[in-house]
Amino acid sequence: MRFIFKTEYQQDVKLFPHGGAVFWYSLLIAAMFAAPLVLDEFYIGEITYVLIFTIIGVGLMILTGYTGLVSLGHAAFLGIGAYAEAYLLGQGLPFLITVPISGFIAAAFGVALGVPALRMTGIYLAIATLAFAIIVAEVFARWESVTGGYGGMQVPDITLFGIDIYEDWQFYYICLIVTLIVMFGALNLLRSPTGRALVAIRDSEIAAQSMGVNLAKYKTLSFALSAGITGIAGALFAHKTVFLSPDSFSIVFSIQLLVMVVVGGLGSLHGAVYGAIFIGALPQIISIAKDYLPHAIGEQPSLEAGVFGLILVLFVLFEPLGIYGRWMKIKLFFQLFPLYKKATFKRQKSYMKSERVR
């Protein structure tokens, strides 16, 4: 087990806790950059999806995992980003400008939703975001001059520094770089006073307020950041899917995104990555498993949805901390062997209404 002796306060907010982490993360980044040289084109495409979902996961994690505001409408922000990207590119703006603008547009909608959301907590907020997502999906379908309605919308190709991006590996590098920027930004945000304020709001609004955290300001900020990051992911998503239709940003997709961060592990950026890998890998695993299942079960079209729901329920029941929580537990088990005790991760339960008001 590694012991970190803290001798100064700056160590608490260091980006990497120790040299080993620097080494392994650098290795991971190097491996990601080298991947297209080694891997098949199919896998590069899949990893690109995982990267885009990672960006969404980071966005949703800031809102749900760190600020404690549950959003059932993130597919709407994704859609806003995607449509904004397609529309702006169609107007002839260059790619380097449209992606940030798409993010900003989504962030503006995030603020628009965040301000009324200040008065709500818990389920009301979840339901309000749900309503928002349904309204936005309807707008996508009806505003035909911009979105093409149910007919859908073709996403123009990217041109970057005079090079046309049409190969999968080129787009993979774009996604990888954006993911790294977003990750690095989120890590820095979370160790800054702003990030601490968000976590304080999650743990107890009343306590945070007493410590001088401006609830309205930080909740709105959290909504804006989350929506903005999701909007950027949406811009990349648009290029990945090439063709946008209103159906792709339905409420089911929102729920899927939320499941992603829950299964990955709420309250950690690792969780966002694990969740994205889970979302990306599950359909593949199921399609492989189909070959080994009896015909009657294997050929069911709703098999994937069923497995998805089952995994969600099992995770919340047996591993509320998600994949990342399981990883932490296994790590701690070996670090403390044979002194590991289950109670380390036990969560406080609350049985009274007054206990639930935070």
Binding site: I123, A128, G306
Partner: protein, 285 residues
Amino acid sequence: MINGAAVGCIYALVALGFVLIYKATEVVNFAQGDLLMLGAFIAFTLIALMGWSYWIALPVTAVILAAFGWGLDRAVFRRVIGQPQFAIIMVTIGIGIIMRAGVSMVPQWGTETYSIDTPFSNKVVRFGDIVVAQEYLSIIAGTAILCVVLYLFFRRSRLGIAMQAASQNQLAAYYMGIPVKTVFSMIWGISAAVATVAGILLAPVSLIEANMGLIGLKAFPAAVLGGFGSIPGAVVGGLIIGIIEQLSAAYLPDGFKDVAAYIVLLAVLVVRPEGLFGESMRKKV
């Protein structure tokens, strides 16, 4: 207007299911619409496939679903009592997905759409100049009867009062000798039965299919408008939402019918988050 009220009654019934569970256990059941769907499918099996009469199939289905709701609570929701609300919401969403997928896997049900014949099909009633389909009247009457029964149950019976106590403070109710866990299971049973009745009443008007549970999403505005946790509120909210929907279909451009309910919902949440009949809670430090 009558059609709007009838659709509103369905929303009211689903919202009633939400409210019952929320009031007692503080769980928002996102799978309520899927319980409705399952109820409709079982009724379809009994009536259309096995040839039972409507009046026998209705209570039998309600009992089956009540048992299902009871079992669901025993197997799943009992484990998550006391956990953060968010976790519980996720479980209900997951259960809903599983139920939807499960129903479409059952051989005789599948992903097709069905309808059932009821004693009310294709008959009309005349009030002077107004012609109303009996199906819609049956929905309104069914809702009214169910509401009165539930109201009396919660006000008059020992069990109903025990349920109210459990909903206000789980620990205190437990100390008073109320078997809180059993009470919660019963609430789930009742709520599932209410959803079933809604499903069977809805069946002649809409079609039976695996995704009919999405009507549950429409019931959220109803529940919120009435104030989550208020039984009369749910009914009034459902009626208002149903009527608003019909009116916006008649007077507003295309597309507003589907979102009108949600626009109302957002407006209510902004202006008066506790709804029409709700009670707000604050923590004093």
